[in-house]
Amino acid sequence: MTPSWRASFLFTALVVGFSLLILRLVYWQIISADRLGKAAAGQHFVELTVPASRGELMDRGGNPIVVNQPAFLVYGEPRNIKNVTEFSKVVADALSLDKDEVSSKLSQPNLVWVPLAHKVELSQVQSLRALDLAGLGFEKEPKRFYPEASMAAHLLGFVGSDVNGADVGYFGLEGYYDRQLRGIDGSMRLEKDAHGAPILIGSEERLPPEDGRTLTLHIDKVAQQLVERRLKEGITRYGAKEGSVVVMEPETGGIIAMASFPNYDPRNYSQFDKSLYKNPIVGSSYEPGSTFKALIMAAAINEKLITPDTIMDESGPVQIGPYVIRTWNNEYNGKISMTEVLEHSSNVGMVFVAQQLGREKLLAAIRKFGFGKLTNIDLEDEASPELRPDKEWAVVDEYTASFGQGIAVTPIQMVRALAALANGGKMMEPHVVKEIKDAKGKVTTVQPKVVSQVISPETARIVTEMMVAAVDNGEAKWAKPKGYRVAGKTGTAQIPVAGHYDATKTIASFVGFAPADKPRFVMLVTLREPSSSPWGSETAAPLFFTIARDLFTYWGIPPQ
């Protein structure tokens, strides 16, 4: 080997060596820069997500209705588990899981992180922590706690998961206020030493979470509880398929109580039929029947077309083209006043009122009372049945609408319209939430909103007296609490089935407010297909008065 050959060999080896070195550096610095950067960050930094607490729901007295309880995602890290079989047995026993399923999850190749159970309660996590199992980890994943179990389920909605497994509110308040309730997660990034402990003088980034807003509701927990209990009893007593009650404060539009059965349990919502999730008080329609008469009567009095003493002749059925309109019991009382029309709940009498109003004013009144459009209540599931365009109303439709048949409304629309008779003619926007408190403690009050003045205060006062008379002298007078002035109206509507009205199935209802002179509440009770009696006066009305009696006692309202 000559010296020149050796020099060439050494030179070539150096060039090749440096080239390989440069290529390797290119690979590290450019091609793998992201991956290595993240790996380095993983070794130098500890990163934690600090979840925001979901906002809580309180009743009007500040009592909790929905709060959070600590819960955790339990996960396994297969690389750190020494004996998968033993590990699976211990974890499965503690969490009541299937041992084989846990074992098969952990045995899948190339997995570094395996979720084993979601929303595990603190007590179970504490017992697992005490075992100090290598490869078992916990991550905060709070869940909702309902101190009153399934109370007000339709109103509250529930918290489920989206496609990424994050909490999302569905239906009711949880759905409507989801963005305000969920808050914003925070994060923590600390430089750590070789043992994983944070370095005190190292870099540190802490972004605190912004907790969700707390909602204070108009709901009164005690009133809600007694309404639910009485409604359950009523459904059983009268053999109804479904039932609902809504109680509203007429001056503010605040919802004091709202209940409907059958319902579901928000703690185990997935075990219930999905059709039960919708709140029928805001999302389902029904024909209001005779409860509607008070509103049409109010519209005619407001237009000064009739007075409570106006006399009409109820001498027999009314023939409208091929249709015959009769009274509910096919009995006729001759000459009767408008007050007596309400007392007897006369359909024939209401045809007279509709004739006085005329088509234009009748349809305008129905719209002014808010039917055919959303009330804008702060609940996610609200829907409104549409009113037919004016030109599609036949004459018989106008007359039947005057006594609440052939027109569909939601219970919330009905109770809001009645509240206008109780509060001097103001149409209020119904609200469930009274105050919203943010994470910094700033409170925003939801102000009562007057949508319109639908009738004059004088008309409201006159119709109130007529409704008091309808209660005192009507079919349901036997059930009324003695000594109280209650304004109300019964309703019994047939149910449309496949294009005709079913002869036996009815929706019985009663709507009213009390005390009539200074109403504290307006309430609507509906019972679907009661089997003990089809009439509202024998089912919904006594249930209304039972609840009213409880409310009088609870609020300390003495008889007048």
Binding site: V67, Q69, P147, A197, P198
Partner: protein, 97 residues
């Protein structure tokens, strides 16, 4: 001048040695504090969880369901409407002159 150079020659190694010892002590102290900080962070999270769990317990213990159960177990019953008496604003007869 030579004397000053000699002093510097002695002082510099002493100062360097002192600084090294100081750095070891401070680093050791900081490493310990880092561990303590980690423990405190964990403790804060545990206490927050316990606090939340206690809040849940209070909500549960003061719920209407619990109160009703407890009242019933103590023998309380619901009054019927006839058992409820309302006081009026009128002056009772016995107090009239």
């Amino acid at each position: 001048m030579k004397h000053i150079g000699k002093i510097i020659g002695i002082m510099l190694p002493i100062a360097a040695l002192t600084m090294i010892v100081l750095q070891v002590v401070v680093s050791n102290e900081l490493a310990g504090l880092g561990k303590r900080l980690g423990e405190l962070d964990r403790e804060v999270r545990v206490q927050a969880d316990i606090n939340e769990a206690l809040k849940t317990e209070v909500a549960s213990a003061s719920s209407l369901l619990t109160l009703r159960e407890r009242a019933e177990s103590l023998g309380f019953v619901e009054p019927t409407s006839k058992q409820i008496m309302n006081l009026t604003l009128e002056v009772p007869v016995a107090l009239g002159l």
